[in-house]
């Protein structure tokens, strides 16, 4: 349990800084720090047992069908990395409190940091590779936020984007590799995968999986040729660089190679890919670092180089090299984090990071100087610091390694790499701290930083020294536990110590130290000699590649997505026809079924004929929009008649009332929209569309013909019919299905309806701004208006009708559970009744008397439905279970009162609210366009007025 908590704590705690920043920066940093500290304490509580060889495991099912489970395990390797992540994380949190300026949003910084921390801990503790991949992607995303933290700096944004693009692309490759791996083994659990080395290495898919996984690791750990993103990520604030590039982000790739070491390593493929990449990275990174004038740039390339060193050691594939790699991971994390923080101190105190302007800073900043010099000496591999020991072990391993049967290549290049490493480390020491000040006019006068800023690197430097002096005591147990986990078997015979006697490694070390020092003396000459060499610029290549892919995607999307609805719809329709056709040709035996068909009655034939005529006429006369609308109304009418003929009274009622509302709506729309559609389609286009639509019609018609001529297979409907009365308490099965059996569907649907109405509201409310408002203000009414806005006959008739039609609505609502009717239909009927009032008596007059808020009505409806659903919980039943009681009322007689009625009431209210809101808003636009005032009185007809023309009215 506490294992899960270690992973979750940073995620949960990530809300704290966002809240605590209101209480001030100290409170914010303290809250963040305590989250990490707590996680670290939980981890440390398990450390002794893990070092003793125990493995903690915890597992929860998540999506077992996919093999994705939340499983964590803690072994030596996980312990090492989790300690680094949380321990150095804690130091960074303290450091950042003093590093960030008052203008930087600190709360946000700590939120990102904790998210990143959680993702990293998740990677190193995951037992399921799918889970690991999720955390892996999370680190890419959260590091993007961290690197781009100073979002006002273009370098920050570009660096963050580059890091995300490179590591994200690698992550994609790794997903594929991991899936292949899981497929080979048949399980996505690491603990299972790690037991199946032989199976994996014998598989023909081993090489693809290896390459894909390594792509992920190399991009993350900035291995050549993917190293270029890391220096650009240095645009981040220094605490981020110190955290990401010493202990966490870039170590994730290393971690994964170490994690997979037992199953993937030991083959020639592994050796040649991993060891070579590591070797090249080590040498190239170190070489570039020598020439970097930016303090952080130098450290960035040195990080690249040291990551290469560890990668190479893992690539050797021997247990001894793995031990050396693990040890160097620890050492590198300590001295590199300290160095980054020192660089941050220098930047903070002097205002610049240009090495050429420094010199003699040790006198001005003695504490920071001591820290920097010791850490840099360790980086160079100087006795007696920890960097020396692991570098010796590395050289020792390199000495024994053959590359393409040549025994001199690896030792030589390793020595060269070490030599370069000495050169840039010494440059950091001599050009920054020692010697004479080169620039008296630094932006700030340098002095030592506050305690909180030098304490974290000082702590790490103490570790650097202690591990160097007493390696076996301080780091021995952790190295043993970790190496045991990496190797997954017996540990080799090794001894962590400063002095191993006169070994070849010592000779190589001495050569590197002397050579590096000599190289640095020649630094000035070297600079000018290499200044004119043309170097491939990774950033411009990267930018070029990005620009090319943007151009490509723009080409594709501009052609597919050119803003023409016609094109999208054509693609969709043709696509649908294509899918239908492919199914048709896959089994080309289209036949009618043998079901007994219904006879055609004369009314049905007449209806069909009308439908054919009107719909064809609608197409041919669609340029006349009013006529089209009338024809559409006729089609709707015939559809309703069809429903009633074919035993669907509820549908008929719904369709006919919807028809009325739709026609009113479209008429209102036509008041604004042009009344004619110009003839502008080319004959070719008409031909194409005609063929496409006939194909669509044939497909759909053929499909339904095939269905209707076959018998209905057994469906759930028989259950509905059998239980409608018993369980739902109603005899109208359709209504019972709506409010009871499938009530949740209906609930969703009324919400959709409400959202549609509110969107309409939003669209119209904002019409008073921008271009639309100008057009409305200058609107010229293009049709003659009747002088009689509200004819008396109509007003009187609708007044008489109103109570009657409302009564019909109530009647339909009440009987809906047992007879055709229900909330939907009643809602539409009542809406029509109300709309009639609006039309006859005028908007303003009616609105003044209809003190109803239609928004509220929609909300009320949804809430009523929800409350009915929730009330079932009181009775201990699932959401939307309905109950009913028999009630006896005088006159009405005995009837059932079902709780579903409350639900139906919700449906009713939502429908009325949505319909009325839509229509009321539309009529508001009309009024704005026509520049007429709201009428206060109905029947505002003035018989003495001359026949008004639109101009006069306006």
């Amino acid at each position: 349990m506490s294992l899960t908590l270690i992973v979750l704590l940073p995620f949960i705690g990530a809300v704290l800084p966002a809240i605590m920043i209101r209480a001030g920066r100290n409170a914010c940093a303290t809250a963040t720090g305590s989250v990490t500290l707590l996680a670290l304490i939980l981890l440390m509580a398990k450390a002794p047992a893990v070092i003793a060889g125990e493995v903690f495991q915890v597992s929860y099912s998540w999506l077992p069908e996919l093999g994705l489970n939340v499983t964590f395990f803690l072994d030596g390797l996980g312990l090492l990395f989790a300690t680094l992540i949380l321990g150095i994380g804690l130091l960074i949190i303290i450091y950042a409190r003093f590093y960030l300026s008052k203008n930087d949003p600190m709360g946000r910084f700590y939120v990102f940091l904790l998210l990143f921390q959680g993702a990293m801990v998740g990677i190193v503790l995951s037992d399921n590779i799918l889970l690991l991949l999720i955390f892996w992607e999370l680190t890419s995303l959260s590091s993007f936020l961290l690197i781009g933290y100073w979002k006002h700096l273009p370098e920050g944004r570009q660096g963050a984007r580059m890091a995300l693009a490179v590591t994200g692309a690698g992550g994609l490759a790794m997903i594929a590799g991991m899936l292949i791996l899981g497929d080979i083994v048949g399980s996505y659990d690491l603990s299972v995968i790690l037991q199946n080395a032989d199976l994996i290495q014998a598989s023909p898919m081993y090489l693809p999986a290896l390459i894909l996984i390594l792509l992920g690791c190399f991009t993350k750990s900035a291995q050549f040729p993917f190293h270029f993103w890391l220096p650009h990520a240095m645009a981040a604030p220094t605490p981020v660089s110190a955290y990401l590039h010493s202990a966490t982000m870039v170590k994730a790739g290393i971690f994964l190679m170490a994690r997979m070491w037992p199953v993937l390593s030991g083959t020639p493929e592994w050796f040649y890919i991993v060891a070579t990449a590591g070797l090249v990275t080590m040498v190239v990174g170190a070489w570039i670092a020598i020439f970097k004038h930016d303090l952080k740039g130098l450290l960035a390339y040195s990080t690249v180089s040291h990551l290469g060193l560890v990668t190479m050691l893992l690539g050797f594939g021997t247990p001894m090299a793995a031990v050396a790699g693990v040890f160097h991971i620890i050492n590198h994390a300590t001295f590199k984090a300290a160095l980054f923080m020192t660089a941050g101190i220098i930047d903070h105190e002097t205002g610049t990071r240009d090495i050429r302007r420094f010199g003699g800073l040790l006198n001005l900043m003695p504490i920071a100087g001591t820290i920097g010099i010791i850490s840099a000496a360790s980086m160079a591999g100087v006795i007696p610091f920890n960097g020396f020991i692991s570098k010796e072990m590395m050289l020792e391993e390199a000495w024994h390694t053959m590359w393409l049967d040549q025994n001199w290549i690896v030792p030589l290049l390793a020595t060269v790499g070490a030599l370069f490493s000495v050169a840039y480390s010494f440059r950091f020491i001599f050009h920054v701290w020692l010697g004479k000040p080169r620039d008296e006019n630094l932006p700030h006068h340098p002095h030592d930083p506050p305690f909180g800023m030098w304490a974290p690197p000082a702590f790490l430097t103490v570790l650097v020294v202690l591990i160097g002096l007493f390696p076996a005591t301080i780091a021995g147990p952790l190295v043993a536990a970790t190496s045991g986990a990496v190797i997954g078997g017996e540990l080799p015979d090794y001894y962590l110590s400063l002095w191993h006697g006169l070994t070849p490694a010592l000779g190589m070390s001495v050569i590197a130290l002397i050579g590096g020092a000599l190289l640095l003396m020649r630094h000035g000459g070297l600079m000018s000699a290499t200044a004119n060499l043309s170097r491939p610029d990774a950033k411009s290549m990267f930018d070029c590649a990005i620009a090319k892919s943007v151009a490509l995607s723009r080409l594709v999307s501009d052609n597919l997505h050119n803003g023409s609805l016609q094109r999208y719809l054509a693609i969709m329709v043709i696509g649908a026809i294509g899918i239908g056709l492919s199914g048709f040709y896959a089994q080309p035996d289209f036949q009618s079924g043998s079901r007994e068909l219904l006879e055609v009655s004369p009314p049905a034939a007449i209806g069909w004929l009308l439908l054919v005529v009107t719909s064809v006429a609608a197409v041919f006369m669609h340029h006349n929009r009013l006529l089209t609308l009338l024809l559409l109304g006729v089609v709707g009418l015939i559809v309703s008649l069809g429903f009633i003929y074919l035993s669907a009274p509820d549908l008929a009622l719904t369709q006919i009332s919807v028809e009325v509302v739709t026609v009113i709506l479209m008429l209102l729309a036509l008041n604004i929209l042009p009344k004619e559609t110009p003839k502008e389609s080319m004959p070719g286009r008409k031909m194409r569309d005609g063929i496409v639509s006939i194909a669509a019609g044939l497909g759909v018609g053929g499909a339904i013909w095939a269905i209707m001529t076959r018998d209905l297979p057994n469906s759930i409907s028989s259950y509905h019919l059998a239980n409608s009365k018993i369980e739902g308490g109603g005899t109208n099965v359709v209504n019972v299905i709506l409010v009871d059996f499938r009530g949740f569907d209906t609930f969703g649907e009324i919400i959709v309806l409400g959202i549609a109405a509110l969107s309409i509201f939003a669209l119209i409310e904002t019409v008073t701004q921008g271009e639309a408002a100008k057009r409305l203000a200058n609107w010229v009414v293009d049709r003659r208006r009747s002088p009689n806005r509200h004819p008396m006959m109509m007003v009187v008739a609708t007044r008489v009708m109103l109570p009657l039609s409302l009564m019909v609505g109530v009647y339909i609502f009440l009987r809906g559970h047992n007879e055709p009717g229900g909330g939907f239909i009643a809602g539409l009927v009542v809406s029509v009744a109300l709309v009639m009032q609006y039309m006859a008596s005028g908007f303003g007059w009616t609105q003044n008397r209809m003190k109803v808020n239609y928004h509220g009505m929609i909300g009320l409806g949804v809430i009523a439905a929800a409350i009915t659903g929730v009330s079932a919980w009181v009775a201990g039943l699932p959401f939307l279970s309905s109950g009913f009681v028999h009630v006896h009322l005088p006159i009405v007689g005995e009837f059932e009162l079902a709780s579903a009625m409350g639900f139906d009431l919700g449906v009713f209210l939502t429908v009325v609210g949505a319909v009325m809101l839509a229509l009321a808003k539309l009529s508001q636009v009309e009024r704005m366009a026509e520049h007429v005032d709201i009428n206060a009185e109905p029947m505002d007809h003035d018989p003495s007025a001359p026949v008004a023309t639109p101009e006069k009215e306006a």
Partner: protein
């Protein structure tokens, strides 16, 4: 009868699709409405056609038509109304905003043709 329904569905689909592919908003709205009829009737017909067997339970009656497609279509009709209303308002807003009712992707501000008013 089945043939009449099937051919009506096919015809409505054809007409709806054709109007859907026009370059102005109003025919598209009408086309969508016709297509909605076709789809609704299609869904309804999945429950097979019956006459005089409404799914209202009665004493002594045992044969009913399939109620499930009807329930699904009922909400579909109401939802298609909501959708029609939304696109009608969208097209009005677009018309007011850009001054024409084209949906064929010509850039905003391109010279409008005859028939565009205001």
């Amino acid at each position: 009868m089945e043939f009449l329904v099937a051919s009506s569905i096919g015809l409505l689909t054809t007409c709806g699709t054709y109007l859907l592919l026009r370059g102005r908003t109003f025919p598209v709205v009408v086309g969508l409405a016709m297509l909605s009829y076709a789809v609704n009737v299609f869904l309804f017909a999945m429950g097979r056609l019956t006459i005089n067997m409404p799914p209202i339970l009665r004493e002594g009656v045992t044969e009913y038509t399939d109620p499930l497609p009807q329930a699904l279509v009922l909400t579909a009709i109401v939802i298609s109304f909501g959708m029609t209303a939304l696109i009608v308002v969208l097209s009005i807003r677009a018309y007011l905003e850009i001054g024409n009712d084209h949906v064929d992707g010509r850039p905003v501000g391109a010279p409008s043709e005859a028939g565009d008013k205001n």
